[in-house]
């Protein structure tokens, strides 16, 4: 059997991200997670929407798809369900995922589509050069909040738990070892796995964003049970700290299982030849 190394998961081109961008940490953790799982690059698809972080599929030696703004989840859902043999990983930013694409998350979560969705969250629109995003904190000045942001920011972890996503985690791009483990666990998880990756934007949020995330984040206790929904909500509601690790988990049939069961029922009801389908139109 061929062994894959990080090199096999890299493409020929180098990232265009700014020096110091948190997305480098996420990308490197993703390479390592794939190496850890030994997933064949030709059976892996990494897909994205639009934004700085959505450039990521271009840096993959796997199959990659950089689609349109906000639509990575339907794109990845179609790819996964049309051939469940492949591993499908969706990536993007907080604007792509929580603003323009926000409507798709509950459906991918509800259907429990067996894909991993990594949102690189820097609480800013970077590609369009510094406007407020759904996760921009209160009072932060951006190019579209000149007098400070007055809108309550979106809490992705709490929302994803409410959606009953079957795997909800948070990582911090600077903590690559932990991020690698969590990404690998998410990919291995059967069902929809969501990772909120704190990924600073040094260009539009300054180096201070690293300090902000570092000071606020903390590891979940060793004895934490992510299937405890009440405790998971408690952590999610307490916005004073940002816990890192798998915050919430539930095990239920994936959409792949559901489609298989549906196919079985359809076949049990009889499988005519395709020409035999004409029988349904006979009078």
């Amino acid at each position: 059997m061929k062994t894959f190394t990080v090199k096999d998961y890299k493409s020929k081109i180098k990232p265009v991200w700014c020096p110091g961008c948190g997305d480098y940490g996420v990308l490197n953790s993703l390479y390592k997670a794939l190496e850890k799982l030994q997933l064949p690059p030709h059976k892996t698809a990494v897909m994205s929407g639009i934004g700085c972080s959505s450039r990521l599929p271009g840096y993959m030696g796997t199959y990659g798809f950089n689609g349109i703004h906000g639509r990575v989840l339907p794109l990845a859902s179609g790819a996964k369900m049309a051939n469940p043999e492949n591993t499908v990983i969706a990536v993007g930013g907080d604007g792509d995922g929580f603003s323009i694409g926000g409507g798709h998350i509950m459906h991918a979560a509800r259907k429990n589509i067996d894909i991993t969705y990594i949102v690189m969250d820097n609480s800013i629109y970077g590609l369009t050069k510094g406007q407020a995003s759904p996760t921009t904190q209160l009072e932060v000045k951006t190019k579209t909040t000149s007098y400070g942001n007055l809108i309550t920011s979106f809490n992705p972890i709490r929302t994803l738990i409410a959606y009953k996503a079957s795997f909800v985690a948070r990582i911090f791009s600077a903590n690559m070892k932990h991020s690698t483990d969590i990404i690998a666990e998410a990919i291995a998880h059967k069902g929809f796995s969501f990772i909120n990756a704190l990924s600073p934007c040094v260009t539009f949020r300054g180096k201070e964003q690293y300090d902000y995330f570092r000071n606020k984040s903390m590891m979940l206790p060793d004895d934490y049970d992510p299937t405890d929904e009440v405790r998971a909500f408690d952590y999610a509601n307490d916005e004073g700290t940002l816990e890192l690790g798998v915050i919430y988990k539930n095990i239920r049939p994936t959409y792949t299982d559901i489609i298989k069961e549906n196919e079985k029922r359809a076949k049990d009801a009889g499988v005519p030849s395709k020409l035999g389908l004409l029988h349904n139109f006979e009078v």
């Binding site: 698809a45 790819a79 049309a82 409507g103 549906n262 009078v283």
Partner: protein, 591 residues
Amino acid sequence: MSRNNIVIGIAGSGGDGIITAGDLLMKSASKDGLFVFMLKSYGPQIRGGESSIKLRMSQNPVATQGDKLDILVVLNWKDFPRFKLELLLEDDVVIISDSADKFPEENIPIDKNKMKKWYKIPIAQIAKEASGTTQSKNIVMLGIISELFNLPKEALKESIKKKFDRKGQKVVDSNINAINAGQNYVINSLEKIDDLVFEYKKNDARIVMDGNEAIAYGAVYAGLDYFAGYPITPSSEIMQWIEKFLPKYGGTVMQMEDELASINAIIGASFVGKKSMTATSGAGISLMNEGIGLASITELPTVIVNVQRGGPSTGLPTKTEQGDLMQAIWGSHGDSPRVVLAPADVEDCFDTTILAFYIAEKYQMPVIILSDGFIGQRKESINPKKLKDVNAGFKKINKRRTPTEEELKDYKRFKYTEDGISSIAYPGIEGGEHHTAGIEHDEYGFPTSDVDIHHDMTIKRYAKYDAIKKEFDFKRYYGDEDAEIGIIAWGSTKGAVKEAVKKAEKQGIKTHAIIPQIIYPFLTKSFKKFLQKKKKVIVVEMAYSGPFVRYLRGFVDFGKYGVDLYPYRIPGGAPFTVEEILGEIIKVAKK
């Protein structure tokens, strides 16, 4: 004098069973091998409420529902005015209604002196006596008209048995009693009208389909693997049919959260090597435009069905129009090549769908099927053998071309080629790993903002059109090719145009009509050939702003051919009548 072509209208209120009666009539005539064409119309209620059907049956092929009603059955006059357009009352009509209906006669929009006959029959009472309930008055009515006009009587009883079989013998018997009672009433109490007696020769049974079903069946037949969609009138039946049958063959159907999701899901499915399709209408196709651009620049085979409805915005969801032509051809921002096909009748929906998959897979681009509510919702009786043969030309439906071993050594997904078609690898193919993007890309698929690459890539994507134009030609011509009057129309207007051409000929006016199946790319050569002998050309379309005639003008300098153009463009809603088109032909002929 008997006849072998008859047009029947039936209208009534909620609970009158109008649609059931229409379906039974349609099935019985199809069982006896007749050509049948049926339109249904509903009031605005979600369920129940008034409804009407217009049905034409004939020994010979029919292309439209027929203009003039021979027979009108009204089970409840109160709701009739809602259907005055669908069931236009003209002279010489025979009317059948319930004598117990107390609706004031002066409010009925027809001159009593001009109608052929008005039968007032105690329909509800006969029903009550025969079956114990007035509910069966639709079946009594079928008994009356089948006896009075010699419609397929035995077949009607068989259809009734088949329909009510699962409800038990008692229900079957009660309905058979009802139809017998209707027939006996005619035998005992009425006089037949000779020239309305339908006479026909039985033929092999035909099948009954509507346009949406024909598209759905065509897609499954063409090897569809993956369907994603969102319900919208009048296209939902396509998803419903595919959802029921595709899983039997291992395919996957996903009902998505919206149309944005649907189009992106099928692009994702195509990316992993599967034949994929979505179907929508109205607002749904507007939402899909950005995604169609993505399918275009990523050169991914996708089939998008638009069952056009009246617009703009919510418009007329249950009615037909041809207002989406420009959007289909040039929708989505930027230069985004795609192919646009238009089916012209129910059988053609099957054929066009198979062609759509063939073109999508071979030329790696989105293919839009522009159907409309008129074709999608109407039922036609079809010779099943013809559906089996229609695909003969595309027997080689193959999957997209995958890369050779040689190509995989340095795989360029978007390699420049003469015909614009590059090989396509998908997950599972080792060595074919590549990047696909909605952003402009080089031959490898990597992002670029290089102006020269954008120039070359745009031309590469459009180069496929030359190959398509070489491979295909027009195939639907009607009338006399030497005629000086030409008619150009598309899609569902075919039926009325075809019959108008025949009628005009009987009046001594020669015309020649062309109805393209491939709308875009524009098959210039075929059009130019068509125009050679023409002096006047009528362009028929059901869209007030005239997108079709403007589109044609963009490609053909009609003046150069010495041709005067006569656009005939009207807002949608009701299908064209033959008389309408004929009137236009006569007007233009006199000019």
